[in-house]
């Protein structure tokens, strides 16, 4: 029988609540439309997104508490936009520490400084620090108000089988074992995903040698909220140390271990203390008192499943891929997975879209993971050089960086950015490339526009498609009629009219619009799927059908 640990986790700044293990469901044979396994940020964001679309969701999680330790601490602008859409951005807005600079040091000298761009049309900062368990606790408060979500603490998945109609999941709990039937199961159960193991699936890709200790300490340091990287410090020769400020008076110190040291040795209190002291000493704060809150060991990997759909199980977040820590790609990629999947799974279980739409989730997000793996490899080869040759070139670059500016961009650490679904089957290609708008291409995230004080184009949470119509004239009757026809078929479409003067011309400029009548069609996850210099109503209906995975407007699922 599954017996989760019910001792509250210890923390210097966070009060862990132990939730009651959920009782056995009264109707165990009832079919759940969607069962989410895992209650981390990705599973909770997906549950909120599905509920927003009107889908009933059961969430099971093996533990009875939120995440142990801060884990994911850097959330990108795109993650905040996604959390805003599902109504779960309050903790990041209230407590998050926004930042956009990174400084890299070698021999006490700054050798590279990175500035993440920030535009006045974006609501959120490029990067925002918040501890994962604080975000999870805030998402749980939001979920408690959501009647369509049933969250079951202390429920461990131990087996899964699938037939044509449903997945049958065996679940062990402190109250006994039961089976849950679900039309679709979503595996959001993290890096050590039990569902992935139960289905016998294997991740493909690379693992690197380098191991890092992640330690959170409570300390008062008069340093800015930036990404601080220290290459080859005298106390840790050849290796790299990273520091990040976290809310609630906490600092994250990451340092690389010598290759022959085991994680157990590295996490010995004496070893931790001497290394943290050495790092503080090397930056001139050896006299500051500090206390350890949490620590862990991490190794860099770039792995992904080849397909995120396996029978009736869909993989999301770390269950689907393991990405290197450098460049904040774990939770931020997982949230983009959840947002890509939410509207598609909702449309499918509600009978509005064929199963092809779910396959497009896999195609789009596997492509995203591959792009991230390629980019992450570039930062990882500098952070933890995989061979003697790479190590020599890294050392040569650092040595040159003190005086030669041309090598400094080699230290760029490439933060997570939203993937553009440029090759998605859901995109409508414009027949004549010369007739193309110069704004965001089909597949890209729609740019935000600051419409007024504290009001942005991306604020409006809508569950359906959005047509951005750039015109000084009212919506043409033929477009209105096409929209009505789409809605009569059960589709959702919102028309947003953007006159030339919107945001002092910035809306037209950001979308590359020069003449009246241009339009962008945007999916529920805020990615563009079609654009026209001049909108034609029949093309609109075709693009909508295509974006829902239907072959043509006439064909229904």
């Amino acid at each position: 029988m599954h017996q989760p640990d019910t001792t509250p986790r210890r923390s210097l700044y966070f009060n862990y609540e132990v939730f009651q293990a959920a009782p056995l469901p009264p109707e165990p044979d009832a079919l759940a439309p969607v069962l989410i396994v895992g209650a981390g940020p990705v599973g909770l964001a997906l549950a909120l997104d599905l509920a927003r679309h009107g889908v009933r969701v059961v969430v099971v999680t093996a533990g009875q508490q939120v995440s142990e330790g801060s884990r994911a601490i850097v959330f990108t602008r795109r993650s905040l936009e996604i959390l805003q859409q599902v109504g779960a951005d309050s903790a990041l807005v209230e407590h998050g520490l926004p930042w956009r600079f990174g400084s890299s040091f070698y021999r006490g000298q700054e050798v590279f400084r990175l500035e993440a761009p920030h535009d006045l049309h974006d609501r959120f900062a490029p990067l925002n620090n918040l501890q994962q368990q604080v975000l999870e606790a805030s998402m749980l408060t939001r979920i408690a108000r959501e009647p369509l979500i049933e969250l079951r603490w202390g429920h461990l998945v131990t087996a899964v089988t699938c037939d044509d109609e449903a997945a049958v999941v065996t679940i062990d709990t402190p109250h006994g074992v039961y089976t849950q039937r679900a039309a679709w199961v979503v595996a959001c159960d993290g890096a050590r995903s039990s569902l992935r193991q139960l289905q016998g699936l294997h991740l493909e890709g690379e693992s690197w040698q380098g191991r890092f200790v992640i330690a959170d300490i409570k300390i008062d340091l008069p340093l800015p909220t930036e990404r601080l990287a220290f290459f080859d410090p005298t106390w840790n020769p050849g290796n790299t140390v990273l520091m990040h400020r976290e809310p609630f008076g906490i600092w994250r110190i990451d340092y690389q271990l010598p290759p022959d040291e085991t994680p157990e040795q590295a996490l010995q209190p004496a070893s931790l203390a001497s290394r943290i002291n050495a790092q503080l000493q090397s930056i001139g704060f050896g006299d500051k008192p500090w206390a350890l809150d949490w620590c862990s060991v991490y190794s860099a990997r770039a792995l992904s499943l080849a397909n995120y759909l396996e029978q009736r199980v869909i993989y999301c977040g770390d269950a689907a891929h393991l990405l290197p820590i450098f460049g904040v790609r774990g939770a931020n990629t997982g949230l983009q997975d959840a947002q890509n999947l939410g509207w598609k799974l909702a449309a499918h279980v509600q009978g509005k879209a064929p199963v092809e739409l779910l396959h497009s989730y896999s195609a789009e997000r596997v492509a995203a993971a591959r792009e991230i793996v390629a980019e992450a490899g570039k930062s990882t080869r500098f952070m933890t050089p995989p061979t003697p040759g790479f190590r020599l070139l890294r050392d040569a670059t650092l040595s040159l960086a003190l005086t030669e500016h041309f090598v400094r961009p080699l230290m760029h650490w490439r933060t997570s950015r939203p993937h553009e679904y440029l090759h998605s089957p859901l995109n409508t290609a414009v027949d004549d490339a010369a007739q193309c708008l110069t704004g965001p291409a089909p597949g890209a995230v729609m740019p935000s526009v600051r419409l007024a004080e504290d009001r942005y184009l991306l604020d409006d949470a809508d569950t359906g498609f959005t047509l951005l119509l750039f015109s000084d004239l009212p919506v043409p009757p033929a477009v209105q009629a096409a929209a009505d026809q789409w809605r009569a078929q059960g589709g959702a479409l919102r028309i947003v009219l953007l006159p030339r003067t919107t945001a002092e011309g910035a809306a037209w400029q950001r979308y590359g619009v020069v003449s009246d009548g241009a339009a962008y069609l945007v999916r529920p996850d805020q990615h563009v799927c079609a654009r026209w210099l001049q909108l034609e109503p029949t093309r609109l209906l075709h693009a909508l059908s295509r974006a829902l995975g239907r072959a043509s407007p006439e064909k229904t699922p």
């Binding site: 020599l392 070139l393 050392d395 040569a396 670059t397 040595s399 040159l400 030669e404 041309f406 090598v407």
Partner: protein
Amino acid sequence: MTAGLPIAELEAVYDLIATGLDGAGDKRELFLAKLALLLANQLADMARVQSCIEAALRDLD
């Protein structure tokens, strides 16, 4: 292929690199790696850098 250095200058470069290697002491590899990056940047021609690397890899034993 470019004309290359006149023999007198090539001889001078030969001496400069040898002296540099001796000056680098036990950091000879690091010195050569830095030199390679600096020269590649000056050359500003990816294809020529690549063909130089291929030429240097020949007959190493």
